[in-house]
Symmetry: C2
Subunit: 140 residues, 2 copies
DNA sequence: ATGACACACGTTATATCGTTACGCAATGTG
DNA sequence: CACATTGCGTAACGATATAACGTGTGTCAT
């Protein structure tokens, strides 16, 4: 199991650069947006980005927003994918005007989702919860 | 408001064909899969499918699965987009093995999501809840 | 050491998903 | 009738994602 990184230290060069790009960004970035930001630093083709993203998502440092086909750095303070691990079960609140994304880890919600799956004998592997609309600032 | 269809009767020819394709299908279909199934019947290009899908989703006869980039016919018995309307707030349970999709309309979940949004003064417009894993049959 | 293997990476090409833009015909409304 | 609206057909393109292949580099059992 030496190939199981848990924190930023264990990232490869490309993974670190992609994570850096996402951390620096204000909001979510598409894979191609990441690619563009890293061209100066030697990135040339999509697979470089996608490979890094795959690992970062697996480890929990980055989340994929399905409804946006985009990615965000985990907002946990110094996140390293720990926390409520087992299943992530994070909800995202996404403003369609300013693109700001809020990450929410609500245990009541997690319980409900777990329950819904359990009732059907469904072996939950991954959950996607994304709430879209307008944030307070933008709906004012 | 004469342009607001509420049921299958009001669909145009293309919308009806796309809805038919989805209804006939066992599981979710991508837009291009729909296109392929309708080529015999005269469909030739993506916009024909996407335009029909846009309307069908708007009306609630069809749902988009964000995590699959695919579409399913609403499973409500003789669905016409009514029911808990206002916001849809439907959860989908998606088997990654057999691709079967179960539609769930859980009011506790809806309440919880509404609450999460409310706490942040977030004006909810659309929710995506997708649970992925293995259904009972497939995890046996 | 050396050969076998796994891993990260670079690169090209291709697959898949979705949209823009344009034109035309049918319909309905003043 | 003039004209707006709507649905439709088509071509071209843009955006997102993956396959496939090659290379170097480290580990490590032999």
């Amino acid at each position: 199991m030496s190939g199981t990184p848990v924190s930023i230290q264990d990232l490869t060069k490309n993974q670190a650069m992609v994570f850096g790009a996402l951390s620096t960004a204000e909001g979510p970035l598409s894979a191609y947006a990441i690619l563009d930001r890293l061209r100066d630093q030697g990135f040339r083709a999509p697979p470089q980005v996608y490979r890094a993203l795959e690992k970062l998502v697996e480890v929990g440092l980055v989340h994929r927003l399905e409804s946006l086909n985009a990615f965000v750095a985990c907002s946990h303070p110094a996140c390293s994918g720990q926390a409520t691990h087992g299943h992530e079960m994070i909800a995202f609140i996404i403003c369609e005007s300013c693109a700001k994304v809020t990450e929410i880890n609500d245990s009541a919600l997690a319980d409900q989702l777990t329950h819904l799956a359990r009732v059907q004998d469904f072996a939950l592997r991954k959950t996607t919860v994304e709430l879209r609309g307008l944030c307070r600032a933008c709906s004012a």
